[in-house]
């Protein structure tokens, strides 16, 4: 029982970060109906930004989130304006291929600049643990869960309470109707892609003390992000949060009880089962 609780708890911790990645993807999908296959690469950009800020300026990865958010937001907004915006009305396959190409470009450019050597960020708390109700939790992941919760709350409030947030949700519900109501849907798209990128970048910053940093790290996250989003229902922010936690816990339990090499197999099997039997996701057809 103790082992079960322990692994479930660490699953929830990493699930928080997954949720952040998933929410970013779901917002982009919700507003633009574009499936962003470069999402993991955006997270990887966040990791490298954190690494740069850490090695050159000596800023702690957790503190650097404050810098990573605006930088990745601008990067995302730029990508939307320069590339994604041009394929908004194209075939879904072409949108997917464009983002796949974008991902290849980002990871290869990063590889050109930083080589494919593994980089690590070692902080004083990187491998420390803290006790919580008799369970031992990894300090960096616990901190990241706290930050993730704060960011998610702020995001919910932003989407629910502010005019811009409502405009984003309206665009997600019905693009044409939103435009007819006088909402600048192009601006909302740029905003949504920026927010999505910033969330991925933040997740990258938060996992950087515990993960190896290398140009190809994004791929695994991209696929996981899809699993999370489909699990929660495409376009649903609440669903993505829940999906992230479910995936984190599944992975963690599978690693403990079956084999750590096979943990992802269970994630993908779960994904296929959801796709086949509950394609609208765990939370049904809700959007944002």
């Amino acid at each position: 029982m103790r082992v079960f609780l322990q692994s479930a708890a660490s699953g929830i911790l990493i699930g928080g970060v997954y949720a952040l990645v998933g929410i970013g993807l779901t917002i982009i999908y919700g507003v633009m109906r574009v499936i962003n296959f470069a999402h993991g690469e955006l997270l990887m950009v966040g990791m490298y930004l954190t690494w740069i800020i850490f090695t050159w300026l000596g800023v702690d990865p957790i503190v650097s989130v404050a810098l990573v958010i605006p930088l990745t937001f601008l990067f995302g907004a730029f990508l939307q304006k320069s590339l994604i915006n041009r394929v908004l009305n194209a075939l879904p396959q072409n949108q997917i291929l464009l983002t796949i190409g974008l991902g290849l470009i980002i990871s290869n450019v990063v590889m050109l600049i930083f080589t494919s050597d593994y980089k690590i960020i070692t902080t004083s708390y990187s491998s420390s643990t803290l006790n919580f109700a008799g369970l031992r939790l990894s300090t960096p992941l616990a901190i990241s869960l706290a930050i993730t919760s704060a960011i998610t709350t702020i995001l919910y409030l932003f989407l629910l309470k502010t005019d811009t947030g409502q405009a984003i949700r309206a665009t997600a519900q019905d693009r044409d109707a939103a435009q007819l109501m006088g909402i600048n849907v192009k601006r909302m798209s740029v905003l949504a892609f920026g927010i999505g990128t910033a969330l991925a970048g933040t997740a990258g910053a938060l996992v950087s003390p515990t993960y190896y940093i290398f140009p190809q790290v994004g791929g695994a996250f991209t696929l996981k992000a899809f699993v999370i989003v489909v699990l929660g229902g495409m376009g649903s922010v609440v669903g993505a949060t829940l999906g992230g936690i479910v995936i984190g816990v599944t992975e963690s339990l599978a690693a403990v009880y079956i084999s750590s090499g096979m943990k992802e197999v269970f994630v993908y099997v779960l994904f296929l089962l959801v796709l086949l039997f509950k394609p609208s996701g765990l939370l049904g057809r809700s959007r944002m």
Binding site: I35, L83, R86, V87, A90, P92, Q93, N94, I96, L97, L98, I100, G101, L102, G103, L104, I105, N108, V109, M111, L112, T115, S116, G219, L223, F226, V227, V230, S259, G261, M262, E264, V265, Y268, V269, F271, L272, L275, L276, P279
Partner: protein, 383 residues
């Protein structure tokens, strides 16, 4: 009129005179095939042969994917599954059970067929982006199983092929597989076969069904086309030839491991060959391979950096030059990314469609302009 102008005018002329006369296309193809057959006799450098073999492999991979992705419109991004299953089955049989590859290949094809039916039954219930995601997930599951089932597949260490037994007919040794030449002909045969399969599929009833499914699934269904049957048939054809490409790769390179034959990158590469060349056309993947293989090899072999140095854009001794020389070779996939973005944004029909359009425009301008004196160049048969 200058000579260059004549030549310029000749290109569209030749092409437009070829259009509408399939007999002449066959002539062109026959000449190209004859040249390719004679190529190893004139080419002494193994690197040249290696490049051609890579080209054939890319053509075969692209054409195989084209059957399901191009004609049927089902963008599978999990084709590495068939590639990997094919190469793993053949190489494992050869290495552990000493089954010669020309027997092992049949077992591998059966394995690929079973996998394709399994994937088809699961994934074809889904449409559009969901199908793409499911195909990736299934391929990843297979990769992870191969990676972790160490006693059976040798896990991350992969399989290093010792040597291939000599192919004998009676007492005569046909080939001992020591040079690149047998692989060259094998690759050429594979590329031509996949090209022929594409042609046959496109011009058969099956091809019309597939294209109907691609254009509008529901309409096709309402016309009585059995969606899951024909999608599965297309996937099976595609999977068999992808597996053959994988087997060819495994035997030629002599080493396989999960990332190289089962990774998502490989699946993406197959899609990109088609997209960049021109999806859903016979020769699209050939064009894609012709564009991609030389470019990525040029990056890998550092030819691009050398060109930059020669052109004086960057100095070799400068910091940037040294950096490029050291690292540009690792980024050969970059070219795939850049090309696919360019193609999606500016050439929706791929390089082949784009060139055709340019040629058509050239021909139209030519016929509008006063006729230059090219009558004599029209060849003995005339028009």
């Amino acid at each position: 009129m200058t000579g260059a102008c004549h030549l310029k005018a000749l290109g569209p002329k030749v092409l437009s005179s070829l259009r509408g006369s399939p007999g002449r296309w066959w002539l062109v193809i026959a000449v190209v095939v004859a040249a390719l057959l004679a190529f190893p006799q004139t080419m002494s450098s193994p690197y040249g042969l290696h490049l051609m073999i890579l080209l054939f492999l890319s053509v075969a991979m692209g054409e195989s994917w084209n059957v399901i992705g191009g004609y049927c419109g089902q963008y599978s991004v999990g084709h590495a599954a068939y590639f990997g299953v094919g190469s793993y089955a053949t190489l494992m049989l050869l290495q552990y059970k000493h089954v010669a590859p020309w027997w092992g290949v049949w077992a591998a094809l059966v394995a690929a067929l079973v996998v394709s039916l399994l994937i088809g039954t699961i994934c074809f219930r889904l449409r559009g982006p969901y199908f793409v995601l499911a195909s990736i997930a299934v391929a990843e599951i297979i990769r992870l199983i191969v990676l972790n089932w160490k006693p059976f597949t040798n896990g991350a260490e992969g399989i290093l092929l010792a040597d291939i037994p000599a192919l004998k007919l009676g007492d005569r040794v046909i080939t001992d597989w020591l040079s690149k030449t047998p692989f060259y002909y094998l690759g050429l045969a594979l590329a031509l076969t996949t090209l022929l399969v594409n042609y046959l599929v496109q011009h058969s009833k099956l091809g019309y069904y597939l294209q109907a499914i691609r254009e509008d699934q529901d309409a096709a269904h309402s016309l009585g086309i059995n969606l899951s049957l024909y999608k599965n048939v297309a996937l099976a054809i595609s999977a068999l030839f992808t597996a053959l490409s994988g087997i060819f790769y495994g035997l030629y390179i002599g080493f396989i491991d999960p990332p190289s034959v089962l990774g998502v990158d490989l699946s993406v590469q197959m899609v990109l060959i088609c997209i960049i060349g021109g999806i859903g056309t016979n020769f699209g993947p050939v064009v894609g391979a012709l564009v991609l293989v030389p470019l990525s090899e040029a990056l890998r072999a550092n030819i691009l950096t050398k060109l930059l140095f020669a052109a004086g854009v960057v100095k070799e001794s400068s910091a940037v030059g040294g950096f490029l020389k050291e690292n540009l070779a690792h980024a050969h996939v970059l070219i795939y990314g850049i090309l696919v973005v360019v193609v999606i944004l500016f050439m929706p029909d791929g390089v082949l469609g784009f060139t055709k359009k340019l040629v058509a425009r050239g021909a139209r301008q030519l016929s509008a302009a006063p006729q230059p004196l090219v009558g004599g160049l029209r060849g003995p048969t005339g028009d």
